[in-house]
Amino acid sequence: MLVWQQYTTDIGRIYPFIPVNIRQLSNIGRDESPLLILPESDRNFAFEFNSFCPIKGISFRKIKVFFSDDSVYEFNYYRPFSLDLFHHLSSSISVRAFEFIGEEIRHSRLRRMLDNV
């Protein structure tokens, strides 16, 4: 399966091998992976691995992309959003619009996470 090598929460806790979750939200699909719109340095952080570490209590941050071919995809993203990412996506001619969707951490996960930040 495709995993992010690490996922960094907004407050800095790092979790290894989080599955890359790509959802197609439109009837129209794309032949190529929607991850290709990310900078190469980001794409290199996703690789094939034969397992992952299950983690509950976090809804990972996501990027929702409206492509110019009318397809819409949503996928999780491994590090906090940045202005650089915003500019990169804004400059892509294959992207019509995009949304940054923030992560959500439940209390039980958060109180354990804080000791390890």
Binding site: F17, S51, C53, K56
Partner: protein, 283 residues
């Protein structure tokens, strides 16, 4: 009459569930009761296992960290099973005795056997502060090149049991672990296998045929591995391995887990508590 479903809650600061590694947590579970169990009996069962039966939701449950509590399974003559979460393993025998007495009240449908199913935590990374960079790898526990078969280390260990008339009483249990070195624990575990499980004994455990009556508590580890951990071109794999934990005391179970997290390539640590199929013989 239909079966009845009741929520058993354990709430930190009130009546916490105490994990094997002595952490008080908040957790709740739905319990299915057969129709013959009355309201009073149900409440008495809750008291016996340290739970409350308050309605509505349990605040901030720790179920979110992948926790599954330990259970006592009461198997009745009819073949039905009543599964009750148990808040504290030191209370095991008392709780089992009380609940059996309650369920036996209906003539002809007595409890014929009682099993303990150990608690499970799928991911304790935050508890132990485990981090993993993704760039350091453990040595694979596959047999070295040229070896015709996979190696295992097996034998018995001196073990302090949850399921015993006196909690923590010593028994001998069999263990078996995959390894890359014939006759020794896997290289990826360093000296931690022996730290957690103790030395293998020369004693042979009691034979129960192929039936495993007691399954020891253990940590479940996932490593990112390579046959040659220094080879930058070799694709990493994941390997799972279990480490038995001989100690009963919560702080020692905790220490074992904490020491394991320093191992190279470890990226995920979980835990499974002891299971035992013959609690009824201890009452």
């Amino acid at each position: 009459m239909p079966r009845r479903v009741e929520t058993f809650s354990f709430i930190t600061g009130v009546n916490a569930y105490i994990t094997d590694f002595a952490e008080p947590i908040t957790i709740s579970r739905k319990v299915n009761f057969p129709p013959d169990v009355t309201e009073t009996e149900l409440n008495n069962i809750a008291v016996a296992v340290g739970a409350t039966t308050i309605a509505n939701t349990t605040p901030c449950p720790d179920d979110i960290v992948g926790a599954s509590p330990r259970y006592l399974n009461f198997i009745r003559a009819s073949g039905n099973t009543v599964s009750i979460p148990l808040g504290n393993r030191t209370n095991l025998i008392t709780a089992a005795t009380t609940i059996k007495g309650i369920l036996d009240a209906e003539a002809g449908n007595n409890v014929v056997c009682i099993e303990l199913v150990g608690e499970e935590f799928r991911n304790l990374n935050d508890i132990f502060g485990l981090t993993y960079s993704g760039t350091i790898f453990a040595k694979s526990h596959k047999a070295p090149d040229g070896s015709p078969k996979q190696f295992y280390i097996s034998g018995t260990i001196a073990y302090s049991a949850d399921a015993a008339t006196t909690p923590g009483a010593g028994v001998v249990v069999p263990v078996k672990s995959i390894t890359d070195v014939d006759g020794s624990p896997a290289t990826q575990l360093g000296g931690e296998f022996t730290q957690c499980a103790g030395n293998l004994l020369s004693t042979i455990s009691c034979s129960n045929g192929r039936r495993r009556i007691r399954k020891h508590r253990r940590y479940k580890l996932q490593f990112a591995t390579k046959v040659d951990p220094t080879d930058v071109n070799e694709a990493p794999l994941t390997e799972s391995i279990e480490v038995p934990v001989k100690d009963f005391t919560g702080s020692l179970i905790n220490d074992c887990g904490g020491n394991l997290t320093s191992l190279d390539g470890l990226y995920c640590i979980g835990y499974q508590g002891e299971s035992y199929k013959q609690i009824h013989n201890l009452l």
